[in-house]
């Protein structure tokens, strides 16, 4: 790793914490160390911090304070939402509709329900990663209790038609959960206007600490017949309205709230800057590197996400070469993970396995500079050249590669 310069372009994986968040958390580690359930002053000080933090986080998505359940992560929020709603409503029905491109936290929570007698409908997506609204409506049955569709995809950045999905869910009296871990703080979200009943988010994707997430849980407006529509998946001391027991991580939550406060003020500007970076990278690569293409939708995508397909070479090698130049990015190639299967998202949008292996995800963030983008765009082409020289696959050669269909 080049110590003098390191360009971090993997902000969808996690973000560097904002120094202003670190400052707030340090303060709270010192002064709000009490247990927020305790009656004494230091405990009550922590409780006050918690209330204020809840209010701040709620305000970003037009929710009310008591609709926010703090969790340890986005993954935990997804698990509570899906398992909690499915199990609570199983007498009413045992079908859940989700998409083929969900994060594993949603996908595997749904799959775990299969073993308990639930049926899971995985909606396919088009080449951009968008679900078909008519197909969604057609798939809803008497048995359907929950629709869980992500706000924006973590790999290809595609933003789903959330408002329209919310309207369909409401029309059919089905609960609607969205995993907004990538979208929260990146694009405007309004749970009222979009008819979202449950929403997951995480602090570390927006310059906050790791180990803090939240689940928005609609309080009112859910059909009366449902009563309490969710049950906990963990049991303990009644924290977070009985939904998520355990002593509250007040300093972490205060950091989450600070991160939300910052993003609330800076979002319009950040969207503008990051969209410019995004489109500059896309244009430059597509113009200058042959046999490359964009994965995901050209405009219905997160401002900070670029996902490129680079033919004939393997993503992991690109990542390692970039790293040796001091650049951090990511890939949907199987070899980069513990499984050998290429990304289910890239396969779902119709890529062949060898194409999915050649994907490169570049995600910019608050601390990305013009220089960073220039440096990346200067270093990438020679890396692609080097790896392509090694590859037996060529554009003018008949591709003899054995493809495996799912």
């Amino acid at each position: 790793m080049n110590a003098s310069k390191y360009v971090y372009l993997d902000n969808a994986a996690t973000t560097q914490m904002d120094p202003r968040v670190i400052e707030v958390m340090n303060e709270h580690f010192r002064t709000s160390y009490g247990n927020s359930s305790s009656l004494h002053s230091i405990g009550q000080k922590a409780a006050q911090t918690l209330v204020k933090s809840r209010e701040t986080v709620a305000s970003l998505i037009n929710a009310k304070r008591d609709e926010i359940i703090f969790t340890s992560s986005g993954t935990e929020a997804d698990n509570i939402a899906i398992l909690g709603v499915a199990l609570k409503n199983q007498n009413r029905g045992k079908n859940i509709i989700t998409s083929a491109i969900e994060h594993h936290a949603v996908e595997n929570s749904c799959k775990s329900l299969k073993n308990r007698g639930f049926s899971i409908t995985f909606l396919p997506v088009d080449k951009y990663g968008l679900i078909d609204l008519r197909e969604l409506e057609d798939m809803i049955t008497e048995e359907t209790t929950l629709i869980s569709i992500m706000f924006a995809n973590n790999e290809i950045g595609t933003i789903e038609p959330i408002k329209e999905i919310g309207a369909i869910a409401k029309k059919h009296d089905v609960l609607f959960h969205t995993d907004a871990v990538q979208a929260f703080g990146k694009v405007p979200i309004d749970v009222e206007a979009m008819n979202i009943d449950l929403l997951s988010a995480s602090a570390h994707k927006l310059y906050g600490p790791k180990g803090v997430g939240m689940l928005y849980l609609r309080n009112k407006g859910v059909s009366e017949s449902r009563g309490k529509f969710i049950e906990p998946i963990m049991y303990g001391g009644g924290h977070e309205r009985d939904m998520r027991p355990s002593t509250i991580n007040v300093p972490g939550i205060a950091g989450f709230a600070k991160a939300v406060e910052l993003v609330k003020n800076e979002m319009p500007k950040e969207i503008e800057i990051q969209t410019n970076f995004r489109d500059k990278i896309i244009k430059n690569v597509l113009d200058n590197i042959g046999d490359s293409y964009l994965n995901g939708h050209p405009t219905k995508r997160l401002p900070n996400n670029v996902n490129l397909g680079i033919r004939f070479i393997e993503g992991e090698s690109i990542i390692l070469d970039l790293d040796s130049e001091g650049i951090a990015a990511s890939t949907g190639s199987a070899c980069s993970s513990n499984s050998l299967e290429p990304s289910h998202v890239l396969l779902a949008i119709g890529l062949k396995p060898q194409e999915a292996h050649g994907s490169l995800r570049v995600t910019v963030g608050r601390f990305t500079t013009d220089d960073d983008i220039e440096y990346f765009l200067e270093k990438l082409p020679p890396i692609i050249d080097r790896l392509r020289k090694m590859s037996p696959l060529k554009s003018n050669k008949k591709n003899i590669f054995i493809t495996k269909t799912r």
Binding site: I313, L393, K404
Partner: protein, 119 residues
């Protein structure tokens, strides 16, 4: 890492005596091994060898190392290069990456097999 950043014996060989081919469809790797064979003292020797791969870093590094191990060896000796030899030469590979070294060893064996079939 050195074998990944500076791979040895990389590239297509136009006048190869035989080309070994191996693909691992799960991981999506593809490997070509090109060999040139010479007779020396009645023995068939691998006088030259090169590779091309659409593969991850481990596949590139194992291809590089296997070509180094095999160069100058007789065909019988080269056939005995096992998957483990490659991993050991690379100071051990993580278990999940073992199939990448299999790819290189298997492609070499395929090249030798095809060479012998042609004769």
């Amino acid at each position: 890492m050195d074998h990944f950043q500076n791979p040895r014996n990389m590239g297509e060989m136009k006048d190869a005596d035989s080309i070994g081919e191996k693909g691992n469809p799960v991981c999506g790797d593809l490997m070509y091994i090109y060999i040139k064979v010479e007779e020396r003292n009645g023995k068939e020797i691998l006088s030259d060898i090169s590779f091309q791969t659409f593969g991850c870093a481990a596949a590139i590094a194992t291809s590089s190392i296997i070509t180094e191990l095999a160069k100058g060896k007789s065909l019988d000796e080269a056939l005995n290069i096992t998957r483990n030899d490659v991993a050991i030469s690379l100071d051990g590979l993580p278990p999940i990456k073992m199939h990448c070294s299999n790819l290189a060893a298997d492609a070499l064996q395929d090249a030798i097999k095809k060479y012998r079939e042609k004769k």
